[in-house]
Amino acid sequence: MEAEDDAAGAIIGDEEIYANGRDETDSQRHRPIISGEQLDIEAYAALYTGRTKTTRLLFIADKCGAPSMELEALRMAYDEIKKGENTQLFREVVGKINGRLGPNYGLDNAWADAVDRRAELRKEKLENELNAYRTNLIKESIRMGYNDFGDFYYAHGQLGEAFKNYVRTRDYCTTSKHIIHMCLNAILLSIEMGQFTHVTSYVGKAEQTADGLDPVTVAKLRCAAGLSHLEGKKYKLAARKFLEVGPELGNNYTEVISPQDVATYGSLCALASFDRSELKSKVIDNTNFRNFLELVPEIRELINDFHTSHYASCLEYLGNLKTNLLLDIHLHDHVETLYEQIRSKALIQYTLPFVSVDLNMMANAFNTSVTGLEKELEALITNDQIQARIDSHNKILYARHADQRNGTFQRVLQTGNEFDRELRAMLLRANLIKHDYNLKAARKH
């Protein structure tokens, strides 16, 4: 017996304390693969079609801060616009280029005028047609007439007019297919205009149509809903919507969103807002979503890192991706908040299983300094997100569980005192009012 005990004692003595999140044997596998290289603008732009391609390129040109990238983006935007009929946007882009790309990318007035003239003619033609249809009162033709108008205005960059015309078709829709068509157009315009309240209402309308929707439309609607939640900073709802998007989406909605975006937005929102069990069931074990995650391997890696508590590499991935994410038109305003939330969640999750945590080891795990870490933890403790206290002398974090019994006694005594005080004040006031009332009554008589 004693020999066994000795052996057991010896084994225990040989064990070392391992830092959470740092497993030496796995270090090879979890070395960051992608170092967030500069965004390949052509590849990025190829993911999208239609007007959003141009707006995204312009956004990148605005925000990227590197002249070479900016010019590349502007060049591609110019080419794209020349393929379309939006002369106003054309003039804008030329202004931004400012002659830096040479004579081929200057203000081509001839082209602009030709396009404008064509537009005038087309507009007249459409108007005449529409009037003819209206006098004939054929619903289907009127609907198509308004739709054509909507398309026309959209191509020429007059988004408000386009939206109005699309919405006017509502009165002439006869089948659910028509309604869905109208809703999708309205949603597209609302997203382009940045009016996400409309997006939510039209998504709702589309989902309520009686006939079954085909899976592609369902996926499209879910994406749109997710986008509007994202804009509204409701990250949990946005995550849920994006995670429900089926793989049928494919490349069918590139005028709004690409599958890579679905993966990125969904994962980041989920990381920032889901708790551990939800993250596992809805993201990691989600077979449908896996297809999307395959398109963005870095994000897949960082989710796995987060789940397996390899926080340093997870945060490293996030840091690398940050510059590129800031160039995304929908995510730009939310990157900071999401990152903060993810970091806080990581800190909280790290401390959760322990009674005491050595701050030095934790600082290593998060690749930060002990003083910085102390400040962050202090903020989290003050916000009641971590129940613990810091031993600043020895640099240890101790979990602290409130003593229920003492707390209850304290609250009871306090409530008693408050009740006492309130009741006495109330009786006093009642007597004052009675006195006043009696005085008035006495005066009356």
Partner: protein, 428 residues
């Protein structure tokens, strides 16, 4: 009309004869009421009469005559004598007798207080007024007109402890609302002087939230002190009034205390330098309101609050870090502050001077001692007593004819179930 000796003697005889029991006293009282004008006109000649009467036995008569004597304006030496004679009377008079003529008694006590203040010796008046209050009160729950005068004398003479002992009684019945406001205001000031901020807050709260059709200067001053005490004691101030505050107060009080509300805003931001700046800007206002001392206490309470907040996050912290977080100048100052807080019982901590570290401890109260159980028991008893009071008051009210009349008239406006209990004879 000349007071001839005959009627003087008959007066004295009446007093002496009718001071036996309560029936005779009521008779005496009506007689004295008739003679009131007489007494007043002949006030200067009444002094010798007093020597023939025994104040402890003939209190009612003595009171009337004394009151008539003292209503005339006096010179300084006469004032001293007056003070002595009234003090003597108060000490020996019979409580039941003077309660038959409360206005007279109150009037001489007020006169007494005036003279004491004029003589610049408020301490002489403290004990007699205390006795007079106890004799005039029908119960300890009643607030008399003399209470605020007593409080004022305590404040002027700095006899705070006596003032506090009177404040311990709960007050429920009041003669005049104005008395209550003054009483609570002065009482609040006494509590502040004794650093009993919880009670001060309660008293000032009563003034601010009392029903009042129009606001008075007392309410305005009380509100200013209320803000400051709230900052010191609770570390915050709720600018919204409770629902039961009168609308006059809700609308107007804030207009008079703008600098104080600025102080509140700066305090809630949490930076000591900002608060000090605000104090500097508004120094004159605070000084003219005699609140500068309190304001200084508000500033030092900020340090306390900040250190208290640290106890929630840290187990041990170096004095240097405390000084940095709380915006103090040096670790030595931090040590001073922490030491003082430990002594006053605001936090539980130990200072390790060798390492320059402070270790924060949990509240050692385990709620397991006999004293704690007694405290709980006492609390329960009090609340039961108060609840009983409330129920009695409710019952009395629901039998009051004017209440029932009003409810009967308003019956149509209310839900049928609420007032079904009122008899239909009370409709209109």
């Amino acid at each position: 009309m000349n007071l001839n000796m005959h009627s003087v003697e008959s007066l004295v005889a009446q007093i002496q004869g009718l001071s036996g029991n309560i029936g005779e006293l009521t008779q005496l009282r009506s007689y004295l009421k008739h003679c009131d004008d007489l007494l007043r006109t002949e006030s200067t000649r009444l002094a010798p009469l007093l020597t023939e009467l025994d104040p402890s036995v003939h209190s009612l008569g003595y009171l009337y005559i004394l009151e008539a004597c003292t209503s005339a304006p006096l010179s300084k030496d006469q004032a001293n004598e007056l003070v002595l004679s009234i003090a003597r009377f108060i000490n020996v008079c019979a409580a039941e007798q003077i309660r038959l003529a409360p206005e007279k008694f109150i009037s001489i006590c007020k006169r007494f207080k005036e003279q004491v203040v004029l003589l610049d010796d408020p301490m002489r008046g403290v004990a007699p007024l205390l006795t007079s209050i106890r004799k005039l009160q029908s119960s300890t729950e009643q607030l008399t007109t003399l209470h605020p005068d007593f409080m004022l004398l305590c404040l002027l003479s700095k006899c705070y402890k006596i003032g506090l002992s009177v404040l311990e009684d709960d007050v429920f019945e009041i003669d005049q609302p104005r008395d209550l406001f003054l009483y609570c205001y002065y009482g609040g000031m006494i509590c502040i002087g004794q650093k009993q901020f919880r009670k001060a807050l309660e008293l000032l709260h009563n003034v601010v939230t009392a029903p009042m059709p129009i606001i008075s200067a007392i309410a305005v001053e009380a509100y200013k002190k209320y803000i400051l005490v709230s900052l010191i004691h609770l570390g915050q101030f709720a600018t919204s009034f409770p629902k039961y505050t009168s609308s006059a107060a809700q609308r107007n009080l804030k207009n008079f205390s703008q600098s104080y509300l600025d102080l509140v805003n700066n305090y809630s931001i949490g930076k000591v330098s900002e608060v000090e700046k605000c104090v500097q800007i508004n120094k004159d206002t605070f000084e003219s309101d005699n609140n500068l001392g309190l304001v200084k206490q508000v500033v030092s309470s900020m340090y306390k609050r900040n250190i208290q907040r640290l106890t929630q996050t840290y187990l041990t912290l170096s004095l240097q870090d405390i000084a940095n977080t709380v915006q103090l100048n040096s670790p030595k100052e931090a040590e001073m502050h922490v030491l003082q807080m430990i002594q006053e019982g605001d936090i539980y901590a130990t200072i390790n001077q060798k390492d320059g570290m402070v270790r924060f401890l949990e509240d050692p109260e385990q709620y397991k001692t006999c004293e704690m159980i007694e405290r709980l028991d006492l609390s329960i008893q009090r609340i039961m007593m108060l609840s009983k009071k409330l129920t009695t008051m409710n019952e009395v009210m629901s039998c009051d004819p004017s209440y029932l009349g009003k409810v009967g008239r308003e019956r149509q406006r209310f839900d049928y179930d609420d007032f079904d209990t009122v008899h239909s004879k009370f409709n209109i």
